[in-house]
Subunit: 648 residues, 2 copies
């Protein structure tokens, strides 16, 4: 059937309008990748997550049989892109809830929401002393009385402005120094960067350029990459931008991505993707703010250990295998250009230090940003992202753990779950059986539910008795309750004008309960290990990209956070980027981050005997042990029927 | 007369046998340069030093008229190579006293003599702590109990062996680290280099390579480049080698070379030459000792400021112009590969710190090597090379100056002067009028006179009344006294078997007196400025490439060194390389060198009002003021007729 020469097929994707020519027989998911279209793919193309559904409107294709499609979908030529071969020119429609973007460069305007969350330290301030500074130096030119060499003259002038006992200069700078000093009559700007205990002269330019010095803080999330542009002369954040991590089509969680990279020798590709994402963010902000890329001298990154390793193309293979070893938790500063990050060609790229393979620099950033490392009272930080990381402690001690309970609160593994972007329902109020008030991001028509909406939903459904303490739909005669392909489901938003109805399924609820249980079990293990009582908790910080209208009370209601008074719970948004930003503005902050990372004790939950037991108990609403949730005890949940033997 | 297409001419040089094809009309000196034949050329090809004399044995040439050739020479077709055009194939003979080499790679076996002089510190020892070390690390592999990241595991292992509070690792090393540790089961060798206050992980290799670690110390002389190969595991010097500086055909002194480089935009060429010299020395020693270049991890250079600048291609133009500014006196360590020095590709190249444009790191090395920086008593160091540098002081203070009195004691500006190589007369004893005992280096037939021989000669001629206190030949009826093209001259070695006679001319003596006067005047200025009396001098160190049999007493007799008891004068040879070697063996030594350089006070003699007066007085033998030389006063010199009015 095949010609000796492979036939070329044109694939056209709606609604993005992207087109790509591929060889006949190409997998449709690969065709989408090729043109930069990021389809959701939890399993990394193995055909068992069912996330990469697309509809073929026209043309020939060959799809492997799958149980992940409903009869209706099969009838409508809906296929799994990863299981479908292109056999002719195709017209393909990508559902808006599943496509991660509609354009080549993934700047989601709603992603601003991630980045605008408050991020400054809570009560802790550091001296303003950026990692990279521009110093305008007015030097006395040499004379017969003073023939100090140029290099030493430069050092003396720098040391008059900043404390820099140990200094370094690269050979290139040394070579061009005399020309610059002569031409400028010894009026020049030195760009100096802190590297550990030393100060490097990164660049020397004629004249005064000290007013133009910018830095970028980056949160390398598994799902979303967020960047802030900071004016280092004023410490002001002048722009923010976010994008989906374009590694997403290699798998939604990073373990999948490591496996993909191993199997396809695609570590370079992984690096290229994330570097390109960072470059796109920087370029977008720089263009908008009329900042020349050469004026950006610093990048500080925070992220989980795998993302930092992908960025630097460090070995990730052993991170997913016992004993889970990273190449570096403390990454030395490098020149950004060494990995292709496009700022000043001699600018420095720093990574906040991490703790272990599964507790990365994003969490250290969180400890820094919340200020908990400096408090006498014990604080708890729960950062809910694709994983859920927990830190407990105060100025004397810090323990941390990572729960791999899954990214349900990021919308993954939930039928109509989605990230906190345009059209996401971020707030739910139960009005009565089958009736809800809701609010979407950007006031757009509802396209799905993001983390804060899911949190509301679980709490509201439970509080009003729609689901029982095990998460099962409890009232068969509820008008909201219907049956779908996955069994029981509850209608949240009716279909309207061709828009599909939005539901939550029993499987969705189970996934959400697993996620919240993972978080709470981790909290319990850490609290028990440190003999911390509920009343010892001075503050509970909830971090993550939930959406802005997060009802922290609901996090207690469902048993994700411990039952402390609501005024002791604070939603702190993206603390990873907040920590990165503090570091770029103050080397003292970076030094403290290093102390934090070095002093944090990591609990490996997987090898902790009590964790599984805690996890099982925490899968109930709010918990098997109601005495842990006195404030919840009196609520409607008490009305629910409870399976026997779960109270202990 | 000329064809459209230039005619090619073959020039054949004897006795080297080197041949080169050049265009008709090429300057003969350029033809010699082209084939790597280094003719002596003080003036850099301007036609007024008369040093590049060669004889044309066959062929056509066009020579500019010059007053620098005798009638006999013109008759014998002797020409100045820099003033002569090649018009046909030529057979050229290069006099052995003037050619600097007879082969392409300039390894003069006699140059060992420069390098074998004792070089260790005089009473001062530093802890053994090389700048670059190889540490064999046996690390416990990661386990569930200890999943410290590879990079931190490496640092911990390094810190168990050495003190390294601040560490750095390059991106490349970080990337390859996990593979090396895994493959070697965490048994690896880290090469670590000290850079200022930090320790850089330069290289990591699987297995134990700690027993193979070598360093090279280099003395970058204007005339001679000397290198020592040091085994860093035993601190032993395992080989030495020396070569003429192949920049010599751009001028014998470095000011000439700067001018040449400026006029011909030849700074890259200057760098290439000296780098090639260093590479040749390293390659020769490495080959002989079966050391792989990758096993050489360190180069430490000492030299005058201009030579160090040429090596690094730093701006030298302002060094020769008021206010005489260097690019750097403290040169940061660089990777040797950055300038093309061929050792381990990530190995480090250090330069000892210098003081000023005219007091370089060779002198700092001398202060380090003599140990004078640590003595309570005041010491004097006179390093006689192409310039004469003087340091005076003790552990509390150090002053220094550079006298540009000329390289007469290196044989330049002296008719039969030559460097301390094969055939050079290094020792003279006066037997009677016109009769001398002499000794040559390598016991070869006498080809000329080197520094120690010239020193002997001046002292002996003066002591025995052949020259008076002004340096003039005093007895007309002395059978040694003859007349040559330059007027009066004294026969030292009669002609024999076709070998020309060796004489010293009145002009030679005047040059030598200028040199010694420059040195002594500088000493006087420094002593007076610091109110140092003769009896305060605990030790006088004489350094330089004089030849091995230097009679230090004669240096007092002629009034070059102050009149202290002979047991307080020590000839210390090449202290530049001795200092470099101490630094590569001990970072404490380098740190002390930095302190020395930073604390030394530089006296600019040219702008010092008293210097010229001191210089004029010191041009006499031993001095106008005989009270300065009580031990000399009673000698034969008292018998000499003295010009009126010079006693003050």
């Amino acid at each position: 059937m095949e010609d000796g020469k492979k036939k070329r097929c044109l694939v056209h994707f709606s609604p993005s309008g992207l087109k790509v020519e591929v060889e006949k027989g190409t997998i449709l998911l690969d065709a989408a990748h090729k043109v930069g279209l990021y389809l959701s793919s939890v399993c990394g193309g193995d055909g068992y997550c069912g996330k990469c559904k697309v509809a073929i409107d026209e043309g020939q294709f060959q799809a492997k049989p799958t149980g992940l499609l409903t009869a209706d979908e099969v009838r409508d030529n809906v296929v799994l892109a990863c299981q479908t071969k292109v056999l002719s020119d195709l017209m393909v429609t990508v559902p808006t809830t599943h496509a991660l973007d509609t354009g080549r460069i993934l700047i989601d305007s709603d992603a601003h929401r991630f980045s605008e969350m408050k991020g400054n330290g809570h009560g802790t301030t550091f001296p303003f002393d950026p990692l990279v500074r521009k110093l305008y130096l007015e030097m006395t030119p040499p004379s017969v009385q003073d023939h100090t060499a140029d290099h030493e003259r430069l050092y003396m002038a720098i040391r008059r402005q900043i404390d820099a006992p140990l200094m370094q200069t690269g050979y290139q700078i040394l070579q061009k120094l005399p020309g610059i000093l002569l031409n400028s009559r010894y009026r020049a700007t030195a760009t100096v960067g802190r590297r550990g205990g030393t100060t490097e002269v990164i660049e020397v330019d004629a004249g005064d350029h000290s007013r133009r010095n910018f830095a970028v803080a980056v949160d390398l999330g598994t799902t979303t990459v967020v960047a802030h542009l900071v004016d280092l002369t004023t410490a002001a954040t002048v722009d923010t931008e976010a994008t989906y991590n374009s590694q997403l089509n290699f798998g939604e969680d990073y373990i999948r991505r490591i496996i993909y990279a191993e199997e396809n020798n695609a570590f370079d590709e992984m690096q290229n993707r994330i570097v390109q994402d960072v470059n796109n963010l920087i370029m977008t902000m720089a263009t908008r703010q009329r900042v020349n890329l050469q004026e950006i001298t610093t990048v500080v990154c925070a992220g989980n250990t795998v993302m930092v390793h992908f960025l630097l193309n460090l070995d990730t293979r052993r991170i997913r295998r016992e004993p889970y070893v990273a190449t570096a938790s403390f990454v030395p500063p490098i020149r950004a250009a060494e990995i292709g990050v496009q700022i000043n060609k001699r600018g420095l790229l720093y990574c906040l230090p991490g703790v272990a393979a599964y507790v990365g620099s994003d969490i250290v950033g969180g400890v820094l940003a919340t200020g908990m490392f400096a408090k006498s009272g014990i604080c708890l930080l729960a950062d809910i992202g694709t994983n859920g990381e927990i830190v407990l402690g105060n100025r004397d001690w810090l323990v941390c753990a990572s729960s791999s309970a899954g990214p349900a609160f990021e919308g993954s593994g939930v039928r109509h779950g989605m990230r906190a972007g345009a059209g996401a329902i971020e707030k739910f109020t139960y009005l009565g059986p089958g009736r809800f008030n809701y609010q979407t991001i950007g006031d757009r028509p509802p396209a799905g539910i993001c983390g804060s909406g899911l949190l509301d939903l679980l709490a509201e459904l439970h509080t009003h008795g729609v689901i029982d303490r095990t998460g099962r739909f409890s009232e068969d005669h509820d008008p909201g309750l219907t049956y779908g392909d996955d069994g029981r489901q509850y209608r949240l938003v009716p279909s309207d004008n061709g828009r599909q109805e939005i539901v939550i399924t029993q499987a969705d609820i189970d996934n959400l309960l697993r996620s919240k249980a993972g978080v709470f079990a981790a909290i319990r293990v850490l609290m028990e290990a440190t003999q911390t009582r509920l009343e010892d908790l001075e503050m509970v910080f909830l971090a993550g990209g939930f959406g802005n209208f997060l009802n922290v009370r609901h996090a207690v209601t469902i048993g994700m956070l411990p039952d402390v008074p609501v005024e002791r719970i604070r939603f702190v948004g993206n603390t990873s980027i907040a920590g990165a930003k503090m570091a770029l503005l103050s080397r003292e902050a970076l030094r403290r981050a290093e102390e934090i990372a070095a002093s944090m004790t990591y609990f490996d939950l997987m090898s902790h005997t009590g964790y599984m037991e805690e996890f099982i108990r925490a899968r109930f609403l709010p918990h098997t042990d109601l005495s842990l949730f006195p404030s919840v005890r009196g609520s409607a949940s008490a009305k629910c029927k409870v399976g026997s033997g779960i109270d202990q």
